[in-house]
Symmetry: C2
Subunit: 410 residues, 2 copies
């Protein structure tokens, strides 16, 4: 007879949210919906870490009894490591079991909130396959990549005020669009509403104005990562983006997972980025072994539960460490809560493309879903991204899902 | 014999910072440098409005005894009006004089801070003269304006974490640049460091995600404005900005005045924007008289005390109300503390251009300053922008200056 699972602490072997993972989030319970608390995910439960710290007399109780992650983010790498070590002990050492068990809430019983206050949001454009596909679609007669593409990670600022937690509905945006043949722009709900499968990196420790952050200082400043869906209205974007870049085509919503996975949980997932085509300027040169900043993260994108793509993060040309160095090389400062997106993750294969723009080749090749053809998203569609990365000793580290449902235009 | 000025409340007639103006700022005194307080400027003094509200038993004491403007910004238009009416009474009614006088600090004795916490920062591109000049400089063989320019106010998000208060030194940024003839990009301090003379608008009342803000709701949401200098490294910008827009060429610093002038002080400065070349889509159509959202603001730009330009804000093609409608038409929400820049203000005349890029035609025509020729800024240069607008009864409403000194690259 199989053993009955007695406790949320007795996870199934190989659970991607086991004690080797421990991503952070913010939750509230039904009886105290206004009281936001810091938690870590363990299997299908969330541990109230502020209450646990207090129950166990932890020196981190002040840092953890907070309504969001920002104080922990600001505390820096040594604190991140020490807190993680303490949490691991709490959920694994048998003598703590009686203290910890009552502080575990089933995920189904809690509401998850945005885990941190977002400061600035930057989005990059770091997948060579994505950029090449986009270039071919929009500039079929020119070079697919712009001349700067392999010299620097291209990025731009997005709207941090419209970053929403997974599960938040996305209202279809309205705006101007104009096809090349149209005599004048028209206004209405976007007819090319798209996704972008990305990984978002969360800055913890700030940096000073005027002081660039070196490539090797990436783990001092970046706390962790999560899945990110940079919803995009392609028709609005196409008309507005010359010459100053994307604006309303992106600013209506960006969804992030409710769970931030600390980098420390992803050590086994570190990997070499693709071979560089030529030498980079010194501030971006990651040819030294210790500077190689790729992560092997396997993303799955589903629409209404039907898998449409499996973008491999390991194929990204530019790494998160290079993006951080780029973002600050001009002296721009970092703040706790800064978030930057990797850019759409697309691999070399058709089924590895991280946007409908690429998957359907701008609508030319519709996807066949059980409920019908899709070029871009329809009202009611639910997009869910999940992912995992190799963990220690053959385990998998699950990334929290990011999901959103399209609702009709206002 | 001329009367001796007995009190800071006895301002010279026509003082542009008289009781008809009352811009808000945040200051600290030398003996309590960590204690930030809300103030309004009166002549060359700042009134501690939190202390004044307490001394006079005002119902606004809670709103005003704060370290920044955000709570007042969030309170909405009725509160803005009522507080302003109270302040006006405090500084003009003789019976209040003995209470108010001790709470006035000479500007020379205080440190001014950023008056509000900036949420999102957006920069527009709304001067037809500026956009035309830039187009002619960078695309001499093409149309000066992109096809979308007269259909919508073009904008993009900037970095809110590097918005600094007037008086903050600006470190010359380093970055990649590549002239068209160069075989590869080079790295180093910017050699084309420029200014952009702008007016920045400060959002008070937030709006909900998914709900556009109509043109006519501009005064419900926007609290006031200030001068803004959007420092720009033209060489970094030129290499990086295709295809996703400006990033590091702008993100190293944006300076704003320490004083926010409430819109209510600028009623007499309201003016019609330029005649539209053709009908706009309804959400941008400001042909109704009550929707005309121009402001007659006369800006002066000086380098090291030498006036180099006088950009006229009244010539802007797109108004701040249209920019707000554009920014939210896709459902993007507003937060208290959102800031948006008008874009560089340039008039039709050469001496009305708001950037060195235009004034020197990208370095071709250096300016002659007493200390030598200038194409772009040199280390040690101090750029100061001042402005005034017509006030009631022939008065002038002064806008607080925005100033910054260039220091050499790190």
């Amino acid at each position: 007879m199989a053993p009955t699972q007695q406790s949320p602490l007795d996870l199934a072997e190989g659970d991607p949210f086991g004690p080797h993972n421990l991503p952070y989030g913010v939750f509230a319970t039904a009886d105290e919906p206004e009281r936001r608390r810091l938690g870590v995910r363990l299997g299908d439960h969330v541990l109230d870490v502020g209450a646990a710290a207090e129950a166990l007399g932890s020196p981190y109780a002040t840092l953890l009894a907070r309504p969001n992650l920002n104080p922990l983010l600001a505390a820096g790498r040594t604190a991140w490591h020490d807190v993680r070590r303490a949490l691991t002990a709490w959920v694994t050492i048998p003598s703590h079991r009686s203290s910890i068990e009552p502080l575990l809430h089933p995920l189904g019983d809690v509401t998850l909130h945005l885990p941190y206050e977002v400061a600035d949001y930057v989005d990059f454009y770091a997948s060579e396959h994505h950029a090449t596909n986009v270039g071919r679609i929009f500039r079929p007669d020119g070079d697919a990549l712009t001349p700067n593409w392999k010299h620097l990670p291209i990025g731009y600022h997005g709207r941090s005020g419209t970053i929403v937690v997974s599960g938040t509905d996305v209202v279809r945006p309205s705006g101007q669009r104009k096809a090349p043949a149209d005599p004048a722009p028209v206004f209405g709900p976007s007819v090319k509403l798209d996704i972008e499968a990305e990984v978002g990196f969360v800055v913890g420790k700030p940096s000073g104005l005027g002081t660039p952050v070196a490539l090797s200082d990436f783990p001092e400043h970046v706390f962790g990562l999560s899945l990110l869906n940079d919803w995009s209205a392609r028709d609005i974007q196409a008309w507005e983006y010359v010459p100053l870049g994307p604006f309303l085509g992106k600013s209506f919503a960006t969804s992030v997972s409710a769970w931030v996975t600390p980098l420390e949980a992803l050590e086994a997932a570190r990997t070499d980025p693709p071979v560089r085509d030529f030498a980079l300027l010194p501030y971006l040169d990651d040819s030294a072994e210790e500077d190689k900043g790729g992560y092997d993260i396997r993303i799955t994108v589903a629409v209404n539960g039907h898998v449409i793509a499996e973008p491999p993060f390991a194929t990204m040309y530019w790494t998160a460490a290079q993006q951080l160095a780029q973002m600050t090389v001009n002296g721009a400062s970092l703040r706790t809560g800064d978030l930057y997106g990797s850019g759409t993750v697309s691999g070399p294969e058709v089924h590895q493309r991280g946007s409908l723009l690429e998957l359907t080749w701008n609508g030319r090749d519709p996807l066949e879903l059980p409920e019908g053809k899709r070029t871009f998203l329809e009202d009611g569609d639910v997009v869910t991204m999940t992912a995992w990365a190799p963990g220690p000793d053959g385990t998998r580290v699950g990334l929290g899902e990011v999901s959103g449902r399209i609702v009709s235009a206002a």
